[in-house]
């Protein structure tokens, strides 16, 4: 009897597991005779990877091909996990920043994904299979992220990485102080103000949650025994403070834009005061200055490799920083923050071998398993292991070689990029009224950027300049 119950329990749990990863469009493929860079279990020569219905079922030599499964002969090629970009503003419709309020936790990028963005295909061509699609950096507490898989060709809802933890953007320093303080004369005007916005919002959320919970409890009592318990006056659900309260309860993980050591220390102090854990600093150009503190607080880093000096707060930087953080125990990744850079994240990783002496395996961790851990999806992606998702890129040479070109990209075992079947026009939709010569906005760093839509606020020196449309760096 117990056995039967156990069996039924197993069946139910298998059913539940299947229903959580509910995305239906999965594929199968047998990749043969490749050099397999597993990331977590070494590099394997002349090895096969078998993906069945979207999951890696076997990794080994001379595997049998199940009936009906396509074979991909990858002799001489390198197989690695699909690259994961922990910071992207790709594929967002009509606004990266809800920039009218310094706190906008209520908005979510999940509402505004644009599955037709051809940039997704370009990212797939660079071997990227997952990304954190982030709100911009105009607000101290920005919007919630969408963790996505690049299932190009599917609907927006199908891009959502099932079961991934909810992440949220924070931003420190010049961007929120320029937009809100200089731009409008409201808090935060200074770095001190940024800290106060965080603290005041946290306090408001604690207060809200207490009031809301008290109401819900009283209402439940009333619903159960209406005569003994009078109906409480409603406390409306407040979406913004709900999300902030969830940050304080560890249900939403912070991913904060930052540059300077002092603001990094500031946010860790605030988080310690409120018990916030499991957060990641993004850009973190001065991360190398505060490595012991990052380690002590178990804070992760999603770093630029060699982008700096585009504004005052980003002057003190070095390409050695990611390797230094990695070697001293900070969970470190690299990100693109750019629809161009996302196409060659392998080059970014390679720089960490040159600057700081990471091993090749360590360098690849910066764009695979480490961002996966930071985003809470490492049980599914980030390394090639039996049971993980069939998210894979296959390269003509070792991916850290400048000569390596990505040949194939698979997501859930479905081939989403094949260099041999790569026509000129990969847009999903063509406008019936556009002329052939219309190219749209295909260049310009104003798009898919941290401060998209806000560039007109600043002149070329970064000062508020409401009448011009001149550029300022986005990061």
């Amino acid at each position: 009897m117990l056995k039967l119950v156990f069996k039924i329990g197993m069946l139910i749990s298998i059913f539940l597991a299947l229903s959580i990863s509910a995305f239906a469009n999965t594929g199968s493929v047998h990749i043969k005779n490749a050099t397999v860079l597993t990331i977590t279990q070494g590099d394997l020569e002349n090895t096969d990877v078998l993906i069945i219905d979207g999951k890696i079922t076997q990794i080994g030599q001379n595997l049998q091909t199940p009936r009906g499964v396509d074979i991909l002969d990858a002799e001489g090629m390198y197989v690695m996990p699909g690259i994961i970009d922990s910071h992207s503003h790709l594929a967002i419709t009509r606004g990266v920043n809800e920039w009218m309020n310094p706190v906008s936790a209520e908005v979510t990028m999940k509402d505004v994904l644009n599955p037709n963005d051809v940039g997704i295909y370009r990212a797939l061509a660079g071997g990227v299979t997952s990304a954190q699609i982030k709100h911009g950096s105009a607000n101290v507490i920005g919007g919630r992220s969408a963790t996505v898989k690049f299932r190009f060709g599917e609907s927006a809802a199908d891009f959502i990485f099932e079961g991934a933890p909810q992440l949220i953007k924070f931003a420190l320093g010049e961007n929120p102080t320029r937009v809100h303080g200089q731009g409008r004369g409201i808090q935060p005007r200074t770095r001190m103000g940024v800290e106060q916005v965080v603290r005041e919002t946290f306090d408001a959320a604690l207060d809200y949650r207490a009031r809301r919970n008290a109401y819900l409890e009283a209402k439940e009592l009333h619903d159960r025994r209406p005569r003994r318990n009078p109906a409480p006056q409603p406390v409306p659900k407040n979406l913004r403070l709900e999300v902030v309260a969830d940050i304080l309860e560890g249900k939403v993980l912070v991913q904060s834009h930052c540059y300077r050591a002092d603001e990094i220390l500031m946010l860790m102090r605030v988080f310690n005061d409120y018990g916030v854990e499991n957060y990641t600093f993004h850009h973190i150009t001065e991360g190398y200055k505060v490595i012991p503190e990052l380690v002590a607080n178990n804070a992760a880093a999603s770093s630029f490799m060699d982008w700096w000096a585009f504004k005052f707060e980003a002057y003190f930087a070095t390409s050695y920083s990611p390797a230094m953080m990695f070697q001293q125990g900070v969970l470190t990744s690299l990100h693109s923050d750019s629809p161009a850079l996302i196409r060659h994240m392998n080059h970014e990783a390679a720089k960490a071998v040159k600057y700081g002496g990471l091993t090749k395996n360590e360098a690849l961790k910066l764009i695979t398993i480490n961002p996966a851990i930071q985003m809470g999806i490492s049980d599914r992606v980030g390394s090639l292991e039996v049971g993980k998702d069939g998210d894979i890129s296959i390269w003509s040479a070792h991916p850290l070689s400048i000569y390596a070109v990505n040949q194939y990209t698979f997501v859930d075992g479905v081939q989403r990029f094949n260099i041999n079947e790569d026509p000129d026009d990969m847009r999903l939709q063509v406008d019936p009224e556009f002329d052939f010569t219309y190219r749209g906005n295909i260049t310009g760093r104003e798009h898919d950027a941290c401060l998209e839509n806000l560039f007109y606020l600043f002149d070329s020196t970064g000062q508020i300049h409401s009448h011009s449309h001149s550029h300022s760096h986005s990061h």
Binding site: M100, V107, P236, R240, D424, D425, D435
Partner: protein, 427 residues
């Protein structure tokens, strides 16, 4: 004198029990070709009195008092078309909105959150903006004001030229929403509108509950504040009114459907130019579409069939894709019907001058005459919850129909007369 009046009264009563109606003389079109809402055609007569149709058919008796126009067996009559959502007569959206000190809290009006506004309080009809639609055969229209995220209520009007504003057939038809931001204030993005819509809903739920509790025990609860914006949501929360959501792309339709699923309101998709891409979802969730007939023009190269120019392989590929896209856009409505979606019509900002040409083009692209008529009449009336009185030519229905010299599908066709709410307009 009294005797005489009494005699007339009795005489009227004998002729017809609708004594009061008899005081208004009847009118009639005789010997016309009547095409009904479902495309069925009959030759016969239409008699109407006041704003109601009294009798239709070939065997009916024309009342002695009727003023008759003889159609001479050659005039076509269609039910009055119904516009499921228009902005006719709406003032334009103000262009220079004032700067606010704290754009995060701009106030509802500045943010374009005005679901309590009624079109009948705001329409500007001094230059008779309704005329173009009347001349296309439209006798009634649901009207929403132009605006931003929540511009106001939807009201159903009889199109009566410059006097339309005084001819509300039905208020409280629904509230109108769209993904449009008001510049320079919160919500300033699409994601902001999504969040704000949810927040308004939560606030309205609490407001509704608070008012209910206060009404049950005034001593125990705080006096509810006057909140007309939230009050406008209450019938929507109760599912007594739908939300008319103007959305076109597949992704925007999916966003409206997402809100519908989260909040459980009655949803009507307005315009829906790419609705065919989500037809399965709309059909399975029973969400009707008031479809736009505003279809894209043919690309130049498609018009010029004789052209024999050398083009690159890339351009050839583009042309094939563009032709497919154009065909998809012009068969949107047809494909929605094929999928079993309820489809009505909404002008939703389109120009009246394009209407008949586009109807004919959509007919060439597969939409049958019967389908077109049903969409423009009974289907729209049903979606607007007005089908008991509108959308058909039949005894007891509103006297709304148009008279044409030739079939609507013939070249250069247009109505020669429109009977709207019983009033004859000759063009």
């Amino acid at each position: 004198m009294i005797r005489k009046l009494l005699f007339i009264g009795i005489a009227l009563f004998v002729f017809d029990s609708t004594v009061f109606a008899q005081a208004i003389p009847a009118r009639a079109y005789t010997n016309v070709i009547i095409t009904h809402h479902d495309g069925e055609t009959e030759r016969g007569h239409i008699v109407w009195r006041g704003n109601k149709i009294e009798a239709v058919g070939s065997g009916i008796t024309i009342p002695f008092d009727a003023k008759v126009i003889d159609g001479g067996d050659s005039l076509y009559v269609y039910p009055g078309f119904i516009d499921g959502l228009s902005h006719i007569g709406s003032p334009d959206v103000p262009s220079n909105l004032p700067r606010v000190d704290n754009p995060g809290k701009p106030g509802n009006e500045r943010a374009g959150i005005q679901p309590q506004r009624k079109p009948s309080d705001h329409l500007e009809d001094s230059n008779n903006p309704y005329e173009g639609w009347k001349k296309s055969g439209f006798s009634s229209s649901a009207i929403a004001l132009k605006g931003f995220m929540l511009p106001g209520q939807v009201e159903f009007f009889s199109l009566q030229g410059s006097n339309t504003i005084n001819h509300v057939i039905s208020s409280n038809v629904g509230i109108f929403s769209q993904f449009e931001i008001s510049q320079g204030v919160y919500p300033s993005t699409l994601m902001g509108i999504m969040a704000q819509f949810r927040q308004l809903w939560y606030d309205a739920q609490a407001h509704k509950e608070h008012k209910r509790l206060y009404a049950s025990n005034a001593q125990m609860y705080e006096i509810p504040e006057h909140k007309p914006v939230l009050d406008a949501f209450i019938p929507v929360i109760r599912r007594e009114q739908p939300v008319f959501f103007l959305v076109d792309t597949k992704e925007d339709i999916e966003r409206a459907v997402k809100l519908f699923e989260e909040l459980n309101f009655k949803l009507i998709i307005v315009s829906g130019k790419e609705a065919w891409r989500t037809a399965d979802v709309l059909q399975s969730k029973n969400i009707p579409v008031l479809a736009s007939f505003d279809i894209p023009g043919k690309p130049d190269w498609m018009k010029d069939e004789e052209a024999d120019e050398e083009i690159s392989e890339e351009e050839q590929n583009f042309r094939e894709r563009q032709e497919l896209a154009w065909n998809q856009a012009t068969t949107n409505v047809f494909n929605l019907l094929q999928s079993g979606v309820t489809v009505g019509f909404a002008s939703a900002g389109m120009s009246a001058g394009d209407f008949i040409d586009n109807v004919q083009l959509m007919h060439e692209q597969g939409l049958s005459k019967n389908q077109i008529l049903r969409i423009l009449t009974e289907n729209t009336a049903t979606v607007l919850n007005q089908s008991s009185n509108y959308g058909r030519i039949g005894a007891g229905y509103a006297a709304n129909f148009s008279v044409w010299a030739k079939s609507i599908l013939e070249e250069d066709s247009s109505p020669m007369a429109l009977i709207s709410n019983g009033i004859l307009n000759e063009f």
